[in-house]
Symmetry: C2
Subunit: 671 residues, 2 copies
């Protein structure tokens, strides 16, 4: 349908959609950067979605039962900023639109979660939004099953572009959604045939409809500029018993001279082009000036949801007080009051009956105690359930015939799993954790970074955390992965040494409201090192003195996880030679770095030689050891300098010199 026909046939719709288009042109021109074409192309679809389908209330942006709207094609951020402004979200002021992409503005280049109410997730790295959305939809299914449709009953809508669909993670998301028959998930594909480098066909000939259908989706299509066709497609998609994809045929940068070109993808800032486009739209008002009737029409759309929200609140209020409090607690992300005592119980039991245990098994012990008292947890694994020890008996399996199940078989999809966990956590009401081998941090990286950036407290259960994995060899042995996660801002990397520290790490991870946690856990059995009970969570300060030197303190051994046992053995040998040796366990470097200088100096006083032991690369350790400043630093690192190898774990530890004997030798050479 051409512009003239659209204007003539649907004049009211046209004006509302053009409000999005001109705000986009205006904001991009003001910023002199941004992406004009996508909002201009998808304005009609978004208008119909917000006007006729999306259940939302700008006065209550966090209302738990709202429909979720996710702009997976995050570069088209002016689409959502325009929508939030027009429908009346208080934070989305005209001033913010004018400050698009400027320092301190809520209107960042890509939509950033936490910057602006109404933005449900951070998007921009392509493929993430559609994959988050799978998690949103799973959270909704889970909560609906367990709390009833009375309090949880909503849709998740996604706008995705060709970039999202080309990223591999989208396939993982499509597979998960298809398997789980997530019928409340509706993806609106901006089928404009254009990418940055040119036409889509330069790099892809995939029949997207056939691809989605192959994974159990229902597929619809529409002219993405015809409001009647759009409405019909969304209506049909909502009625489908499967996840639905609607192929919306659109023109990128509609109505401009850059229409249907890759130029149209980027920032359209040419004055004449903008003027011509406004003329083609029949738009007479100046920049950032929306005609009163159009503004009123949009505000009416924004006002549509208040009654629905009020009705929902009335329904919620009919729940028993205890259930209402529980509902509020899980959506606030607060840990249950019982968590602390459960953790203390695990710690006490561990000390009462110490035994050799892999920390991955220790993690299962903790989860077995925690999951029954923390109904909001949802566990899972990327096809390594028996190895990651993530499934506890009480959880049940989440699938289409048991929506109440709290364990997800994610399949071999680490990236999709991580992205979906982000979505679950952002949805609220659930607290996801899931596992894979630590080496496959690599596969999940893009989503792990977004956990940190968005400040969502998901838990990554990364087992087989070193060469201790053994025979599977270097492709499966993490070496640089502790450093990778530690280098990432706002990420807590826990590498606990035994069951007590594992319990402490889980307590910290499950209590966090703003920081994702990576739990690095051993495959191999470890001797317990925490042999006396304390209620205090010693891991909370990141590092602490595990064993003090007898007599004059000449050496400090610092270690994490599976190497704490080695440090303790080395201490014994050094002490036997009369060399006073302290052992510091450092389960979380980031938390230790956050302590005040006094505490840090108390744990790591100047003077003694320092030897750090960790079966990973040195990067990250120098801060606690030395610079290139000379031998006065009296420090050494025992770990890996390259990739691992395939052999039994004991042999690898010996061959790579990660032994108590080597620690003793290094320490003696320094003092």
């Amino acid at each position: 349908m051409d512009i003239a026909s659209l204007r003539a046939q649907h004049p009211d719709h046209w004006k509302k959609a053009c409000a999005i288009r001109v705000l986009t042109l205006d904001a991009v021109a003001a910023a002199n950067s941004g992406h004009s074409g996508m909002p201009m192309g998808m304005a009609d679809v978004a208008t119909v979605l917000f006007e006729k389908h999306l259940n939302f209330d700008p006065t209550a942006p966090l209302w738990p039962n709202r429909d979720r709207f996710i702009l997976s094609a995050g570069h088209g951020s002016m689409l959502i900023y325009s929508l939030l402004h027009l429908t009346g979200y208080a934070q989305a002021t005209l001033e913010e639109l004018k400050n698009f992409r400027q320092w301190g503005a809520r209107t960042a280049g890509h939509p950033e979660y936490g910057h602006l109410e109404g933005v449900e997730t951070t998007t921009g790295p392509l493929g993430q939004g559609i994959s988050n959305a799978v998690g949103f939809a799973m959270a909704e299914e889970s909560l609906r099953a367990r709390w009833g449709a009375k309090v949880m009953d909503h849709y998740t809508y996604v706008i995705a572009g060709d970039g999202c669909l080309m990223e591999g993670v989208s396939q993982e998301a499509i597979g998960i959604a298809g398997k789980h028959q997530l019928s409340r998930l509706i993806v609106l594909w901006d089928n404009n045939g254009i990418t940055i480098d040119g036409k889509v066909e330069l790099s892809d000939v995939t029949d997207q409809k056939a691809r989605f259908a192959a994974s159990g989706w229902d597929v619809f299509e529409c002219d993405g500029h015809d409001p009647v066709a759009i409405d019909a497609a969304i209506t049909a998609a909502k009625a489908s018993p499967r996840p639905a994809m609607i192929a919306c045929k659109t023109h990128i940068a509609l109505g401009s001279s850059a229409q249907d070109t890759s130029k149209g993808h980027g920032a359209l800032t040419d004055k004449q082009l903008i003027a011509d486009t406004r003329a083609a739209y029949g738009w007479e008002n100046g920049p950032f000036d929306i005609p009163a009737d159009v503004k009123a029409a949009w505000e009416a759309i924004g006002a549509r949801g208040a009654a629905t929200r009020a009705a929902w609140e009335a329904r919620l209020a009919t729940l028993p007080a205890g259930k209402q409090a529980e509902f509020a607690r899980i959506f606030a992300g607060d840990a249950p009051a019982k968590l602390a005592s459960v953790i203390r119980g695990v710690k006490k039991a561990a000390v009462d009956a110490p035994k050799k245990l892999a920390t991955r098994s220790a993690s299962e012990v903790v989860l077995t105690a925690v999951n029954p008292v923390m109904g909001e947890t949802i566990g899972g694994s990327a096809d390594l359930t028996g190895s990651n020890n993530t499934k506890t008996a009480d959880l049940g399996v989440f699938d289409p015939i048991n929506r109440k199940g709290r364990y997800v078989f994610w399949g071999i999809r680490e990236h999709g799993m991580a992205a979906a966990m982000n979505g679950m956590a952002l949805h609220g009401g659930v607290r996801p954790y899931s596992g894979t081998f630590m080496c496959f941090t690599d596969y999940a990286r893009p989503s792990m970074r977004l956990s940190a950036l968005m400040q969502v407290p998901v838990v990554y259960v990364m087992t087989h955390d070193s060469i201790g994995l053994g025979e599977d060899g270097p492709t499966h042995q993490p070496v640089e992965h502790l450093a990778i996660s530690r280098a990432t801002p706002n990420t807590h990397v826990f590498r606990p040494a035994d069951l007590v520290e594992v319990a402490e790490a889980w307590e910290l991870a499950l209590s966090s409201k703003t920081t994702p946690s990576v739990l690095a856990l051993s495959r191999q059995n470890l001797a317990p090192v925490r042999l006396t009970h304390t209620n205090q969570n010693l891991s909370a300060r990141g590092a602490y003195v595990l064993a003090e030197a007898t007599g004059k303190r000449q050496v400090i051994l610092i270690a994490t996880g599976s190497e704490v046992e080695i440090a303790m053995k080395a201490r014994e040998m050094l002490e036997a030679e009369g060399i006073g040796t302290r052992v510091v366990s450092m389960p979380c470097m980031e938390l230790f770095a956050q302590q005040d200088e006094a505490y840090r100096k108390k744990v790591l006083p100047a003077g003694p030689a320092r030897v750090a032991i960790e079966a990973g690369v040195q990067m990250g350790w120098d801060r606690w050891l030395l610079g290139e400043r000379g031998k006065e630093s009296k420090a050494a690192f025992i770990g890996m300098t390259g990739f691992g190898a395939s052999a039994p774990a004991d042999r690898l530890y010996k061959e790579f010199g990660i032994t108590a004997e080597n620690a003793v030798a290094q320490a003696k050479a320094l003092i």
Copy 2:
């Protein structure tokens, strides 16, 4: 077809296939670890492939025109080890099979490139092999177009499992192969319906045949135990004008009591189970004992290719001597003799006419000079061609109608791109480089790690390497990514400061035969800092004195890339106050770390205060600065402590304090 019928109808085939099966059982039993089920399930398919189709010669494992066989389902490593042993590869001795998964053995837990001839690529991290294979097939197409079918004319075969197909990267690979109509690529899917957690349907309901077809593949299927059906399917796939996928219906752990179960996926070590399985096979010989007739039959298969290889060598010998030398050079991975003079020319011209230039643009200047003299380069970008500056005018575009083109529009597929580059480099004869935004290192990570582990010298052109990217905001601004690549063993991270250093970095990257390079390049324009010409490649030592202190040296400023300009400005300000200041440019930390202590101390002598400036996280810098050992270290770091923000680049540098003024203040506080 049941075992009894198979044995009865195809007794010779059965015995050959069972040789693989029993060697697998024996080696896994000896190692007491490994994966038995996959080789037992796919033995028939592999036997038919090697017997009737694969063009190979065990006496010449690196013969350039051999067919490539890639075991994407790398956990089934005993399949390829058995095949290499049975067909007579010298390195694949019986002793090696007996030492499966042991220290120093060539038979690692997963197939490791470089450990054992006949292993074309390292597999194990799922989805990598099938994605490497796309690169192998592209290299073959490219070389066939440019050198003629006389010297390059082979197939690439892949065995992939459900794990490979669930990983998102496989979708990227499928999309690339479909677009490019890689008709010499044949994927044999081990359709056994089982993953580690149980049945595939626990996590996936995808119709894989429909999925491949949706991206332009031809799809075939066969009973994966019936040699006639397998042969027919492979024959049809070879004739197809498109990439082909053969769905091979198989039984994992065929013939054992663990058949068709997830238990069968892992190590079958139970003695009774093994004995029963051997009995079911009708196998009477003991462990590692292959009957003479079966051994002879396999050796005949191994001998099949010698004549073909000899004929190829005769054809190669008909080329002009210069062409033969060139063919040998590109397959040896040697840089052309001209490279050095071309680089010197670029450096000289840069110094003669210094100007402000983004290092990504500088990279284009270098490639414009290099590509015409280095015909083996193949460039590309993950849909950011204009931003990554990776396309030079002479390359032409690789696609089905122009196989001679040397530029690839990869689409929005960083992971698939990286994996395919690995495949290209492993194939030999081509030297791939490709670009994306540096932040999307995250998407490519699994394959970037494998570049390092396999020692393939691909080049990652990572532009927009800091907050200097500006308005696109924190999702697009790398902060931890320099640290991530630096933490990875055997990876050279170059962060050049201007055109001269960019030329030096490219020279080092394109001369490497064993190390991948990451080029971190700026979006924003930078002032040149190398103002006098030298033929010497100063970047080769990793760091060097760019500007010496006037008078007493009190401060050393160390910087990389876009921050070298800031360091130079700070030096000017400090010198103006009479504070002698040296500036060290450190374009490659890894190369500097490899220098002897004398050189390192010459560049970074003890004494002066040190201030490092880099718009990334501190991790990795402490080695060159200080530990937690107290103020005597006299050092400071100026960089990022968290994620970036959306705003113009200049503003971000000011807000985050990455300025000459701050460097001056920090330096003065230290002295």
